[in-house]
Amino acid sequence: MSLLNQNLKEIHSKLHDKELSVQELVEDTFRTISERDDRIGAYLTLNEEGARNDARRLDDKLASGKERGLLFGLPAGIKDNIVTEGIRTTCASQFLSNFNPVYDATVVRKLRSADAVTIGKLNMDEFAMGGSNENSSFHPVRNPWNPEYVPGGSSGGSAASVAAGEAYFALGSDTGGSIRQPASYCGVVGLKPTYGLVSRFGLVAFASSLDQIGPLTKNVEDAAYVLQAIAGYDHMDSTSANVDIPDYLSALTGDVKGLRVAVPKEYMGEGVDAAVKESVQAALKVLESMGAVVEEVSLPHTEYAVAAYYLLASSEASSNLARFDGVRYGVRAGQSGNLLDLYHESRSQGFGPEVKRRIMLGTYALSSGYYDAFYLKAQKARTLIKRDFDQVFEQYDVIIGPTAPTTAFKLGAQVDDPLTMYLNDILTIPVSLAGVPAISVPCGFSGGLPVGLQIIGKPFDEATVLRVAGAFEQNTGHHKQRPNL
């Protein structure tokens, strides 16, 4: 069994008592990856030399008695759309297959300051576009619970690496649910922080008004540790929020007595699998038994969220991806006649089908004559969706529902039907449009595949989200289940 299945305090205690060294922990991680990753496909690039150097440096630090960081020695996987100096960053795209960043993203710098060890870069849907991780232009990721099934996307590699014990924790990015949905499918904890809480500097942009970096971990306490390390204002990100960062760990009191929980009827209605509903209802009973007050509410504009999201996210993507032209970085198509040909050929050869589809959709929605009918209309729908959340949060502390309408689906099952694939995100997208924080925690199994419970909070109230998630976890054992690998 991988050492990474132990919890943070156990590992730190062993490191402190010299029962374990960071080098042993790192070697164990690489051994587990070499044994398992040909079946999972979570990693695109391993940072073997760098991780081993860091491990030696951290062991020296421990021996010298210097103060240790919050994530001391913990092997971390980083989604491959977060830039890492000197470590190839591809966004799972052929376009960036040769790209070596010359600086670290702010989150990577912060993980380094917290003494975490970067093990490697994790597979994903190309440029974070997709819900199944089948859109990686290298190879798909498989679900550690059953390799016939998808791990979810776009942070499929991040979720699968943690579920498979191939990383102690991972960073992912969430635009419409890309941390929470794969966390749900893989039976791990995934936290999307409030937009602006974690710096996006060094995150390759997909949809800038929605993208947010967050942790994927085995339990809620670890999510609190990682969030503590990465949250905070960054002058390098013009959309970074300058807010006080609370002590997330002290928020994990285990107490939810009197807490007001809203359950949107739209999140438990048609289209949500019966077994998923059953697991969520059982989870609500657990919270009620601990003294929480659970009531049904309505988020009436939920049904418009997917349409609004795909117009907005694709529009922003078409604009953000205009920078990929084969001139300054990335793969340049050969034999180009003139500069315009070079743009066309490099982009046509470099991007995969889902990326092209979204660029086409976004370009259309922003084009002359359609801007008002699609883009502006979607921005107004976003206002109504956000108002729904504001109104519920006037009376309730958290909103709870399933993370995804079903458990993971089979590889290839939806690959030719983008609209059906997009509808898988119906329960995570409204949260992204409203910019509020949400966590997915394991709450049961159906057909041997994990079910995720989504806990949504007020803007910048990650402390309450973590408190509820932690209390639920302490009173159930779902998060302790591991796939048989």
């Binding site: 937009y195 349409a307 982009r347 092209k356 109504l384």
Partner: protein, 95 residues
Amino acid sequence: MSITNQDVQHVAKLARLNLSTDEEQMFTEQLNAILQYAEKLNELDTDGVEPTTHVLPVSNVMREDVQRESLPIEKVMANAPEEEDGQFKVPAVLE
């Protein structure tokens, strides 16, 4: 409303993409399905509703206009597909 092959060709040109005939056909069908679904938004009465471009009250971020160090040329050029004398090399812009 429906999208034609010609619309797809026009949008591909705007997006700087060359599409094969098969891709053109596929995107025409798929974009039609997605945009038909998006027309659901027309059910919403949005008269008087302000658009939300951003959930945070974002405004321009200003800083002092002071000279500071930039990335060194060798780092800027490190990923260049083609370079010459510290500059990105591209095919002819003007014919």
